[in-house]
Symmetry: C2
Subunit: 111 residues, 2 copies
Amino acid sequence: MSATFTVLAEPSRRAILSLLAASECSVGDLEQQLRLPQPSVSKHLRILREAGFVQARVQAQRRLYRIRPEPFMEVDAWLAPFRRFWAPHLDALERHLDRVESQSRRRRKQR
Amino acid sequence: MSATFTVLAEPSRRAILSLLAASECSVGDLEQQLRLPQPSVSKHLRILREAGFVQARVQAQRRLYRIRPEPFMEVDAWLAPFRRFWAPHLDALERHLDRVESQSRRRRKQR
DNA sequence: CATGTATATACCTGTAGAAGTATATTAAGG
DNA sequence: CCTTAATATACTTCTACAGGTATATACATG
């Protein structure tokens, strides 16, 4: 878990993940789009790979990188206990909508 | 966003947040429960406070700390674009279970 | 097999930040 | 007021890690 957050603390790495969320990319693609030196991209990818965020497949001299879901799921699960600090607001909204909804349904029946 | 993740990368800070998720605590409470030196707790609380994760109210010599939702919501929002990488899997799992379910129902009918 | 292309790694340097210790601040209570 | 309790801050040291530069590895193609 510490490793997961440490990895995400780096802006270039989050940028890489953002691009990969849109589509599979080679190192060169990322290098171009992010305007980062190639060794930097490779080093970040290594860290992302070792933390399970991405996975590479080899295609000739290229390595095509793509997202792996596990660490994201971990973060999502970690957030769970804290959701009650803002979800209640949403719940209230949902209850409100349900109420409005069921009222309009009742009104329809009465017609 | 970088600050947010940097703050969460520290295990003691996540431990503090965990305790605060359960209930409002004083510095001393946290010190006891986590077995950390008091200056360490205070320093982590400062960092958490400055990043908006917690908020203190003064009660005599005590400071009672509690969770603030904003940075957690930020993390939750950041996760959004990546949810499609595992939500589909859950969907697939559900479809699978549905299929198994309806198959066993069909088999029961055939008997 | 020589050359170019794509990616990875090694090494060095600078810096942010965590732990530990000592000390300052603020309020309570006799 | 003086003392104790609760918390914050200052200062030092150590370490992890990011950036930069140079170099190695691996594959493709003439």
